[in-house]
């Protein structure tokens, strides 16, 4: 019998369940290693070489190198673990969260000051809120040419 996973229809949201945790185990444990100052230094000195010490998939390594947090989450990362990469880069939780929306830092901060993202239209896939797949990216940062 299939497991009960009623959260798969929430737009723009990945629930970190046992399946995601299994996929992301080494990615997340790599992140944990960045809680030690000496490891942060070694990672910053040569990111690729440090990542190659971990049995992560190539996709996971590339997502970390690109700081593509949405991709990291799709590949099993969890934000509380990924936050250690942000801390290593000197980024706040707000900068990290905002980076996943396509908004610039200022756009995202302004949205929060105005009361945050509205729930209307963002409860279920198929509605028309700003977190829905057909409305990405949401801001100027995501529209910029790479």
């Amino acid at each position: 019998m299939a497991l009960n996973r009623p959260y798969l229809d929430i737009p723009g949201t990945t629930i970190f369940d046992a399946e995601q945790s299994r996929r992301g185990y080494h990615l997340n444990q790599f992140c944990m290693s960045l809680m030690k100052a000496a490891n942060r230094e070694r990672f910053k000195a040569n990111e690729r070489a440090y990542l190659d010490e971990w049995p992560m998939t190539e996709e996971q390594k590339l997502a970390v190198l690109a700081r593509d947090l949405n991709r990291c989450i799709a590949l099993g990362g969890n934000i509380y673990f990924l936050a250690k990469i942000g801390a290593t880069d000197g980024k706040s939780f707000q900068q990290m969260a905002g980076s996943m929306t396509g908004m610039t830092e200022a756009e995202y901060r302004d949205m929060m000051v105005r009361g945050g993202r509205a729930i209307e239209g963002n409860r279920r896939l198929g509605e028309d809120g700003d977190a829905q797949p057909h409305r990405q990216p949401q801001g100027a940062a995501g529209r910029r040419e790479p």
């Binding site: 945790s21 444990q29 100052a37 969890n78 673990f81 905002g98 009361g115 829905q132 949401q138």
Partner: protein, 285 residues
Amino acid sequence: MARITASVYTSHVPAIGAAIDLSKTAEPYWQPLFKGYEFSKKWLAANRPDVIFLVYNDHATAFSLDMIPTFAIGTAAQFEPADEGWGPRPVPTVIGHPELAAHIAQSVIQDDFDLTIVNRMDVDHGLTVPLSLMCGQPQAWPCPVIPFAVNVVQYPVPSGRRCFNLGRALRKAVESYDEPLKVQVWGTGGMSHQLQGPRAGLINAAWDNAFLDRLIADPAGLAEVPHIEYVREAGSEGIELVMWLIARGAMSDVAGGPAPRVVHRFFHVPASNTAVGHLILENAQ
């Protein structure tokens, strides 16, 4: 006999800790938030407990993916503020209460809750930010603290019902402790927030305020709310609110006593990515 005198509920956003540590509390962005805790600091100073039982979640700090306890009780003599990647917060060491913690573990496990007993761990912002909000910046925290970490990071997390029932078992445990200690139970985390994906930044103030209303007046009914509603309505990290039900379940009215007195209620948006909610409930003397 020991007794639970009050319960305190508050969000535990890391940016709040940073604002305190970097002396930014008077800045226009933060001033309205800290104003909401001015009463609380005075209240705590006037109603100082002997022990705080502090329910929080570890944010991939003490517990990596190597081990994921659903409920973990800190039984150590002391706990150091953790380096979460930004360096440890400059706050006092948390002094534990090993005797009461061990007593609670024994009682609650015999009541069918499988606690993990932790004799060594560092504590992260989930535990230290509520202490900072309620105590300011003292040289030492005002009393011993028993850390109680709940897994709300990896699904499935414990249900609201299980948390509420755990609170009931906690009250029994405290009331069977021989020393006449005054114990406060704090439930922390939440309110609505989502830190990931294109839906990051979600705030649902109407849902949050309805949660506060029901936590006060209909906690047993609130405990029946399923996970999916928290996640859908209050964001993937809004699920932290189940922890408030542990503190609420420990109040006397749940065991047939009089309704608690609401001495303080506060709600503010935003603190970084998060809606901040805060409540103080006192048991009748």
